[in-house]
């Protein structure tokens, strides 16, 4: 368990953050630039001393103002991966990797080098590396110091889209290959959905909400934080079947099945899918004669109190035992024509081609985080 309760004043910015995160899986700190995400991570790492508060990681007190405990950063054993990599320019790649290595263990060194694909780079110098390579070396360097928790502060923000795609699988692979919990700072929702299990929303130096990615992205009141225009619910599915003839795969969720373009993964793989509110079409009667393959019967749960021409609806398309939340964005005019109110039965449709590529998400540690908060 990672318990944070800190207050700090940085210029005219006040940070007052309190939350509990699971010490397993990836916890995302999500919020706008300047929301205080980096300050929270710096307080964790010991690079920023809070004026008051307490930080506990896996039962060890790192900071406690009441008991005058402030463990120096070098004794906290938290790996920190910075936005700009921060490789030591006067060391080779190998020298960087070994800088924090606790023991001279060739096997674990080779394993991390292989996992991050660094074999070719070992003798190079940081100045000769691409942005993506630098970040991979920085990740390897942090892991080889054997941290009990990894902190990643927007590790992809300085990279272009292609380089991001180069790094993302490595970070996702860390979850499987190493049992190190990660606190991942980001202001990009797509990264959060691909990587995170638990989500902490940071706004104006405070914690706005904590919970699972699925839960928080489906809450209408949090839309200003989770993103108005990119808005969409995240649903958890399991890969159930492949349709070789049409090149489709089937994903099951409580209450239905979704067809998506073929996914090259074994059956039974848990996958997370984000469905944008703008890609969901509503009908008051079961649709027929349409090209849309994904149609689900559900019920309106919530209607956003928006004044503009558009309105967001939250729908439950799951079962009574396991609700599954979906968002739909329609016009006020359509809302009036369909006479939709909270509780109305409704049919939701999603075009297969509108679906983003699902991302692996085990969902591990989510309920733990949620209950603890």
């Amino acid at each position: 368990m990672i318990e944070i309760d800190v207050e700090a004043t940085l210029g005219d910015f006040a940070l007052a953050a309190k939350f509990v995160a699971p010490s397993a899986g990836i916890t995302a700190l999500f919020g706008r630039s300047g929301a205080g995400k980096t300050s929270i991570v710096n307080a964790l790492a010991g690079l920023l001393t809070p004026s008051r508060g307490k930080i506990v990681v896996r039962d060890e007190i790192l900071f406690d103002s009441a008991r005058r405990i402030n463990m120096p950063p070098n004794r906290r054993r938290l790996g920190y991966i910075f936005q700009e990599g921060r490789l030591f320019p006067h060391y080779s790649v190998k020298g960087n990797l070994l800088y924090g290595a606790k023991r001279n263990d060739a096997a674990s060194f080779d394993r991390i080098v292989a996992l991050l694909g660094l074999g070719e780079l070992l003798r190079r110098r940081p100045g000769d590396l691409s942005g993506g390579e630098k970040q991979r070396v920085a990740i390897g360097r942090a892991i080889l110091a054997e941290p009990r928790l990894l902190l990643m502060d927007e590790p992809l923000a300085a990279l272009d889209a292609a380089r991001k795609e180069e790094i993302l699988p490595f970070i996702a692979a860390l979850r499987g290959a190493l049992d190190i919990p990660v606190v991942y700072v980001s202001h990009a929702m797509d990264e959060v959905i691909r990587l995170a299990d638990a989500l902490v929303l940071v706004d104006g130096g405070k914690i706005a909400a904590t919970g699972t990615v699925e839960e928080l992205t489906s809450r209408i009141d949090l839309r200003p934080l989770t993103g108005r225009f990119e808005a969409g619910a995240v649903i958890r599915t399991v890969l159930r079947g492949h349709d070789k003839v049409y090149g489709l795969s089937e994903l099951a969720f409580p209450g239905g099945r979704l067809r998506v373009p073929h996914i090259d993964l074994p059956l039974g793989t848990p996958l997370r899918l984000r469905i944008h509110a703008r890609d969901v079409v509503l009908a008051s009667a079961p649709p027929s004669g349409l090209s849309i393959r994904n149609a689900f019967a559900g019920r309106v749960v919530e209607i956003s109190p928006d004044k503009g021409p558009l309105v967001d609806l939250r729908l439950d398309i799951g079962t009574p035992a396991e609700p599954v939340m979906l968002w739909a964005r329609i016009t006020q005019r359509a809302l009036a024509d369909l006479r939709l109110v909270v509780g109305s039965p409704v049919h939701a449709m999603v075009k297969t081609v509108a679906l983003e590529r699902p991302s692996p998400g085990t969902g591990r540690g989510i309920s733990e985080a949620h209950e603890a908060v």
Binding site: N74, G79, P89, Y99, K102
Partner: protein
């Protein structure tokens, strides 16, 4: 082509020796002062800064005279040194080295402070998160990254020492073989009839020494610079 007379050889070797000694003596002190000025904020920060720069703006004779008063055999520090360690800097090469060290100190400390201020503190923070103590961070990150500044400071200090005149002649006088460095020997020649040709020869020697030091530092600096920029 250029065969040195005994006087010239003595002056040249003494200059190099005095320069080297004063440089080695000043290095750790200048590093400590640079650290204080660049990284610490304390009462008297401005005062220390002013004090360090004083030799740069004072007439060298004033510095020489002050040293004479403080470090002479009967001066407060000089007498104590002699009584405690049987050690004196008055009218010997050690005095010449001390005078050069004081005169070269501002240049040295300044170059080091600038390079220290240029060291990316975020790299030091990264090293701390990797488990390095403050001390290890200093030796493995800070010091290597400020190496070009240390080198520049050392060369400037050395060059200033080799060229030092006013403070040296005031403090330890002009004793051939003991305190007569190149500039002092040159000055001595200009004071006697027919001394111009030997004075000119010393000029040439001074130029050769200076050029060699500059070229060597340039080559080393380029290497160091490549190294800290992280390219092969």
């Amino acid at each position: 082509m250029l065969t040195l007379t005994p006087v010239e050889t003595a002056a040249l070797l003494l200059s190099l020796w005095v320069g080297l000694a004063s440089m080695l003596f000043s290095l750790p002190l200048a590093l400590a002062v640079a650290w204080l000025l660049a990284r610490r904020r304390f009462v008297g920060h401005q005062l220390l800064n002013g004090l360090v720069h004083l030799p740069l703006v004072l007439p060298p004779v004033v510095v020489g005279f002050a040293l004479l008063v403080l470090f002479g055999r009967h001066g407060p520090i000089g007498a104590w040194l002699y009584d405690t360690f049987g050690f004196t800097v008055a009218f010997n090469w050690k005095g010449a080295a001390l005078a050069s060290a004081v005169m070269g100190f501002p240049l040295m400390a300044r170059a080091m402070r600038l390079s220290l201020e240029g060291v990316d503190r975020r790299l030091e923070a990264a090293a701390r998160t990797l488990g390095a103590s403050r001390w290890r961070v200093f030796w493995t990150i800070t010091l290597p990254l400020m190496a070009p500044g240390i080198l520049t400071g050392a060369i400037l200090g050395f060059a200033r020492s080799v060229g030092e005149f006013g403070a040296t002649i005031t403090f330890v006088s002009n004793i051939p073989g003991e305190t007569q460095t190149l500039p002092l020997a040159l000055y001595a020649f200009t004071q006697v009839p027919g001394g111009d040709p030997p004075a000119f020869r010393l000029c040439v020697i001074a130029v050769i020494v200076a050029m060699t030091a500059l070229l060597a530092s340039e080559i080393v600096a380029r290497r160091l610079d490549k190294r800290i920029r992280g390219v092969q």
